[in-house]
Symmetry: C2
Subunit: 199 residues, 2 copies
């Protein structure tokens, strides 16, 4: 037990952060109170501001501060192409390529029976609505190439099957720069199975 109840309460509160255990929470609490009170105030203010302003985009479900996010409200984006991703971080990773000019839909997670995340906890109802109400001709499912990501992709594919749209999934294969000698068997097998015609 700390000599300060306020520090103790702060430690408890910090433990909700992902990947932060009791020791780490204590280190953070001591660091903020002893070495960076300004930083602590910044965090508190940023949290309160985000809690007040951050909501979900009506169309793509990503974080934003208005009805529609910047991407959904941009006239420059291809309105007929929709890319389904797990998280806003994935959206940002794809935006950084700079090659994709369609819209997104962010599920806000992946199906994970072990963590108690079923379809009802993800954005599938909104996805259905977005596809139904917009002129979308192709959906690219870009979930992670993991067991949970694949299950999420399968579910998405089934959900969208009734619509008359092209559904595609990300190519699986050897990453650029990858050496076959060091590649795991499942990746190599996928690269063989999904081999493309030489052009």
């Amino acid at each position: 037990m700390s000599t300060s109840a306020a520090i103790e309460a702060l430690k408890q509160a910090l433990k909700v952060l992902p990947g932060v255990g009791p020791k780490n929470a204590q280190r953070m609490a001591f660091h903020l109170m002893e070495r960076n009170r300004e930083g602590a105030r910044d965090i508190a203010n940023a949290l309160n501001y985000a809690l007040e302003t951050v909501r979900s985009c009506e169309r793509c479900n990503t974080f934003c501060e208005s009805l529609l996010c910047d991407i959904c409200s941009s006239a420059k984006r291809n309105q007929s192409l929709l890319c389904v991703v797990e998280t806003p971080a994935d959206l940002e990773a794809i935006e950084q390529i700079g090659a994709y000019r369609g819209l997104y839909f962010v599920l806000m997670g992946r199906l994970s029976p072990l963590e108690g995340v079923g379809p009802e906890k993800l954005g599938f109802v909104k996805l259905n609505k977005t596809v139904a109400e917009n002129e979308i001709t192709e959906v690219v499912i870009a979930t992670n190439i993991t067991a949970e990501g694949d299950a999420t992709a399968d579910y998405t594919q089934q959900l969208l099957a009734p619509y008359d749209i092209t559904i595609s999934r990300l190519a699986r294969g050897v990453p650029v720069g990858g050496e076959l000698e060091y590649m795991d068997q499942r990746t190599l097998a996928a690269a063989f199975k999904d081999r493309r015609s030489a052009d």
Copy 2:
């Protein structure tokens, strides 16, 4: 760049936490906004409450919410014994043994030229005052047994040399349960050098 400026600001703010880089800050921000808004509010409130209430004990320099901490204001503690530690976490570790009944002094860090921490950034002025103004007969220097902790201990020892008090340091040696075969050379050398008389 995030689609939300508030999330972006939150990520920046969270990066001041020790051990938290950009990726981790993003994960924390997304987690709080998507999965645990109540937890986010708890953190903001705990930070603000701690910023308002947490101060340094007038005597021992540890975190507390009143003029003197619970330990310094307790009549049950031995007022003539002072244990100098680096951090409140070290104080708590020693309290958990349950065997030490004296007072503490918390330096709030260790000397570290590499991190720009000189004596002026630690509690040495207050330590001098605490030793001068109280009836202390023995000081146990309990800094970490590291290069920085040892340098901090040496500095403390020099600072307190003018006083007519006994100064001791923690025993170095093989930890309880330690096997000699797996002990590093410096620990073994210290255990030999500081060998105690068999009783």
